[in-house]
């Protein structure tokens, strides 16, 4: 018993040996850090996106065992996975909701990097590959929901095919290559794209995109996994109805990341301009941001034009996304009248959003600078203190035990729910379990930190654990500090202070990367 609880046993040694051996591999440039305390997840949203990508890979591979990319069987095989195969419902829901989570996390990741100006300092390649990766992610998600071959998928396919065809010169050739000569070809080709070609492209881009410092925060990863499952339990993805060419389809809208384009298409203006050119322009504009942004500073407050540009973009994306969803509920109108968006109205709103977006951003930047100045005044009056929750070691232990008991209860409940056919509830509970584990891990980590802190007065007392901890700590703590993940919050606080005090003296410090250089 006691021997097995010792930290350094043969197995752990073996793991360390493997870990050390990795230094001779391509991973030598990559520094993984496992934060020893809570850090803001905004800094490692990219890593979370990658983790969700792995979840998608695993759940997708499991779905491949049952899915059949055949004209008259595709939908039936998905129905079989959903209704008959044990735990197929769970796997399918995880796959679906993880795909949404991946697109969402990728978008959030992009905007966080955008507003914090991280694409500067020779990160341009990472930025551009990231934008391409985001686009491929959306294509990957799109091909995924097409191969279910439900009514909604068929509508998406017909729109995608007509958009591809509308491209000048190369359009018909690409259409021929991607869609083949009809549904039978199409479904097999999109399957190939979805399970192999696009993921390989994504992995290749990731090899370029991943930075050298990676933060793997176990509680946050578990929380994301739990969130995916809880969403799956609460809002299980429906199967849709099987596509039959003689049955009128109901009104469906595409997935939320495509409704923006759908809103443009619904103006019934030229397909190429609305469905290909505008989105391409948007993507290219984002990709080119590092080459447009000539500010020497990083904080969004110091780059008003770029910030305003980004906020305007976000508002337009949000408005079009909502507009794409919105179909007038008035059934007395003919269908076409309900679907078509008046282009004059639509484009007027789009144009009006530009001055509104810019004005709003300027106001926000002004307010933020004002607030910062006040905060600084307040801070100069006395030491800044953050209220925190602190438990004693004993209470931390009791809390962990309580969480463990709760975990056991959840496990039993989830298993019972699965046995009695309550698949949603089971998925929900498993997700909750992951969430609880996230909390448990966080508490455990916190407890370890506290335990290290407590025996300060007699410093020599806790020698053995410290010695064992030491190989980990230097590896874990310093990269976390300069991996940038937790640093943005302090940065804006420190930089303006110098600026306020020294004025011009600040520029040589921050501008040492010389963004205006060749």
């Amino acid at each position: 018993m006691v021997a097995s609880l010792k930290r350094r046993n043969g197995f752990v040694d073996f793991c360390y040996w493997i870990w050390d051996g990795l230094e001779r591999t391509v991973f030598i440039g990559t520094k993984f850090s496992f934060p020893a305390r809570f850090v803001s997840p905004f800094g490692f949203l990219g890593m979370l996106t990658f983790v969700v990508f792995i979840i998608l890979g695993v759940s997708g591979a499991l779905l491949m065992f049952y899915y059949e990319p055949i004209l008259d069987r595709a939908w039936d095989s998905v129905a079989k996975i959903n209704n008959v195969v044990p735990y197929g419902f769970m796997i399918r829901n995880i796959h679906y909701h993880a795909s949404n989570a991946m697109v969402l996390l990728a978008v959030l990741h992009m905007y966080y990097q955008y507003f914090s100006g991280r694409y500067k300092i020779r990160n341009e390649i990472i930025w551009v590959t990231g934008v391409v990766l985001g686009t491929v992610t959306i294509l990957e998600a799109f091909t995924g929901y097409d191969i279910i071959f439900s009514e909604r998928a068929e509508l998406a396919i017909s729109i995608a095919a007509s958009l591809t065809n509308s491209m000048p010169v190369v359009g018909p050739t690409i259409r021929d290559a991607m869609f083949g000569s009809g549904f039978a070809d199409f479904i097999l080709r999109f399957y190939t794209l979805h399970v192999f070609i696009l993921p390989i492209v994504m992995l290749g881009l990731m090899a370029v995109h991943l930075p050298r410092f990676l933060v793997f925060d176990v509680p946050m990863v578990m929380a994301i996994g739990g969130a995916i499952m809880i969403t799956g339990g609460l809002f299980p993805v429906d199967l849709g109805s099987k596509f039959q060419p003689t049955v009128p389809p109901g009104i469906t809208v595409p997935e939320w990341y495509l409704t923006g384009i759908y809103a443009f298409l619904r103006t019934m203006y030229d397909k190429f301009v609305t469905g290909v050119l505008w989105p391409a322009l948007f993507i290219v504009a984002i990709a080119m941001t590092p080459f447009i942004d000539r500010y020497k500073k990083f904080s969004w407050k110091d780059r008003p034009i770029i910030t305003a540009f980004g906020i305007t973009g976000i508002t337009q994306v949000m408005v079009t996304t909502y507009w794409g969803f919105y179909i007038t509920p008035d059934v007395s109108k003919p269908l076409v009248a309900r679907l078509v968006i008046d282009p004059v109205f639509f484009y007027t709103i789009m144009l009006l959003l530009v001055p509104i977006g810019f004005g709003f951003s300027y106001m926000m930047i002004h307010l933020a600078k004002e607030a910062e100045r006040k905060a600084k005044l307040a801070a100069s009056k006395g030491p800044h203190k953050v209220a925190g929750i602190s438990f004693t070691g004993k209470w931390i232990n009791w809390l962990i035990i309580a969480l463990l008991i709760f975990q056991v209860y959840i496990n039993i409940a989830a298993y019972n729910a699965a046995l009695s056919g309550m698949k949603n509830f089971s998925l929900f509970l498993v997700g909750l379990g992951l969430m609880v584990f996230a909390g448990l891990f966080h508490l455990y980590r916190h407890g370890l930190n506290e335990a290290k802190k407590v025996p300060q007065p007699p410093p020599q007392q806790e020698e053995p654990p410290k010695a064992l901890e030491s190989p980990q700590s230097p590896a874990a703590v310093p990269p976390k500090a300069d991996s940038g993940a937790p640093s943005p919050p302090p940065q804006p606080q420190v930089a303006p202070e110098i600026k306020a005090g020294l004025g011009d003296a600040k520029d040589p410090v921050v501008g040492k990367f010389d963004l205006k250089g060749p």
Binding site: L155, S158, I159, D176, G180, S181, G182, P245, V336
Partner: protein, 201 residues
């Protein structure tokens, strides 16, 4: 190598580079036609084929009734699953008398892709008085049987070529049997199924 050597003359190094480029080009030139791998060859039928009706008979100018239609499969693969494909379904129509259906040659017949240009439902021809047009069950697009052009509904609002159905061209032999001429799938010829065709003026 000094500057005056390179001016106007081909140096050994330049010549070698040229040879290298030529070598690369000739090595990889045979791979260019391999781009033909992606378009599905089963969609291209090199010779004319007979119009086979659903009951297995061959459509004939003398026997096929006026103002009526049948569903034909083209190109037929023989595989029952593949032949379910909406993209292989065509409306074979003999026009009503007032539109020229009484002529005893191919001009009385039309073949249009059944895939509606709006959202790919399958439309069909309705011969009743007052209709005599193609109608899509999904969103009500209507097609002129004479030209294949949409004249009502969402398909008619689409810009050319997406408002005219893809077609197949026919010819009749001495016995009056009808044949489908080899199709060329682009908007200027037979059109593209599910996308459209440019109407010749």
């Amino acid at each position: 190598m000094s500057e005056q050597d390179t001016r106007g003359t081909v140096t050994r190094r330049d010549f070698l580079r040229l040879l290298g480029a030529a070598g690369v080009a000739t090595t990889f030139a045979p791979f260019v036609p391999w781009g033909q791998f992606m378009p599905n060859p089963s969609n291209i039928v090199p010779s004319k084929v007979q119009v086979t009706l659903p009951d297995g008979t061959i459509a004939n100018v003398k026997t096929f009734p006026m103002n009526s239609s049948e569903v034909i499969t083209y190109p037929a693969s023989g595989d029952p699953v593949l032949d379910q494909e909406a993209f292989k379904k065509w409306q074979f129509i003999r026009l009503p008398a007032e539109l020229g259906g009484s002529a005893q040659d191919v001009s009385a017949f039309r073949v249009y892709s059944m895939v509606c240009l709006h959202l790919w439902c399958l439309w069909k021809y309705w011969p009743q008085d007052g209709r005599k047009r193609g109608e899509c069950p999904c969103h009500g697009s209507m097609y002129n049987p004479l030209t294949g052009k949409a004249f009502a509904g969402p398909a008619s609002l689409q810009a050319p070529p997406s408002n005219v159905l893809a077609t197949l061209y026919l010819e009749a032999d001495d016995k009056g049997d009808l044949w489908i001429k080899p199709a060329v799938w682009n908007v200027n010829e037979n059109g593209i199924v599910g996308y459209g065709r440019l109407l010749k003026t």
